[in-house]
Symmetry: C2
């Protein structure tokens, strides 16, 4: 009897991600995979972006190990929300998203925002079927993070630096941060925002609208 060994779990994930991508393209849904450290401001950015994208119909998938706190917050805006509780898993994978898509009214939305588990390492390795990978960094985390988490900083298309309202109160060298990012990911577009004051959110939303229309 032959024993088959599943050598490449990433290969399996990529296959399911490709199916998700096909379904999302067919439904004309522009999909964003939002990744960040815990507490960098993923949900706040999702909320601000929904507001700034007025006129564009958004759906949200909330990924958390546990709890429905973020999904409840987002649901108050009236957009369709599906919560994924990973039950311990440190990242979302394509299979979880496939299940979530079956519960999302894809024909009623133009943009799908997927909020990944708060983790600057593992989510970078798992394709979900997204159009765009976005990393939300935040000022209090420090300007050296690109050097310490190069996998994540290399994997993404966009880096949003959140909490710039805290710049006067913490040590953060903006030039050093930008230099570090450019050093490992020359293609990434960088936006600086504050979800508390709203600064920079419109610039990000304007750019995002162009990407959505371009597809």
């Amino acid at each position: 009897m032959e024993i088959k060994v599943l050598k490449n779990i990433m290969g399996v994930n990529d296959q399911v991600a490709a199916k998700n991508r096909e379904m999302l393209l067919w439904s004309k849904v522009f999909t964003i995979n939002i990744m960040a450290s815990p507490g960098a401001g993923k949900t706040s950015t999702v909320l601000k972006t929904i507001k700034a994208l007025k006129g564009i119909k958004v759906g949200v998938i909330e990924g958390d190990i546990s709890s429905t706190i973020d999904a409840e917050t987002v649901a108050k805006t009236g957009v369709p929300v599906v919560q994924i509780n990973t039950g311990g898993e440190c990242h979302l994978d394509a299979n979880m998203i496939q299940n979530a898509l079956n519960n999302m009214p894809l024909d009623e939305i133009n943009v799908l925002m997927i909020e990944n588990v708060g983790n600057l390492v593992c989510p970078a390795d798992f394709k979900l079927g997204e159009s765009l990978k976005v990393l939300i960094a935040s000022v209090p985390e420090g300007d050296d993070k690109p050097y310490k988490y190069p996998g994540m900083f290399t994997a993404v298309d966009v880096i949003i630096l959140n909490k710039i309202d805290l710049l006067p109160y913490v040590k953060f060298n903006m030039a050093a941060f930008t230099r570090a990012v450019k050093g490992i990911n020359g293609k990434a577009v960088i936006f600086c925002i504050s979800c508390t004051t709203g600064e920079g959110v419109n610039a990000w939303a304007r750019w995002l609208k162009k990407q959505i229309k371009g597809t």
Copy 2:
């Protein structure tokens, strides 16, 4: 031919962790596994604690996916430092620590601080052979983190809430945070500190000294 299936990778890790524990107890080294989100202030807390523990000889193991930034910073204090680069792995495991211990002068130190990879999920599952598990949370991450990362908040003996100097500038409900922690981990001791102002560091160091002497 029999094919052996390694069912319990955690079991293997636990065995190596037990060996590390034995070696550390034999050497009378009190060992702290420090875990946190990226940028919560692990290295800053290590530096402040080394200073506050004056008279006690400290060694440090720095765990990072990549770079030696933190090890270089800590080495400036004159304590022995070993850097582990996990090369992509999202946590330290007992085997990595076993290798590091072979490069650490255990007979010259009383306390070993292990700075884990910045990750609020995966490191919680891997015993290293430590005497104490410490989580460093930080004010800008928000007060809801115990609900979202229950594995980590349940696994630890001590929770240090860092960056309390930022309390005036961010939304953070201290009572809600404490309630959430107590709800899932009644045994954890909580300390509130600021590595920027130094507030609370001595209280934490005093408590830690008692634990070290008690062993």
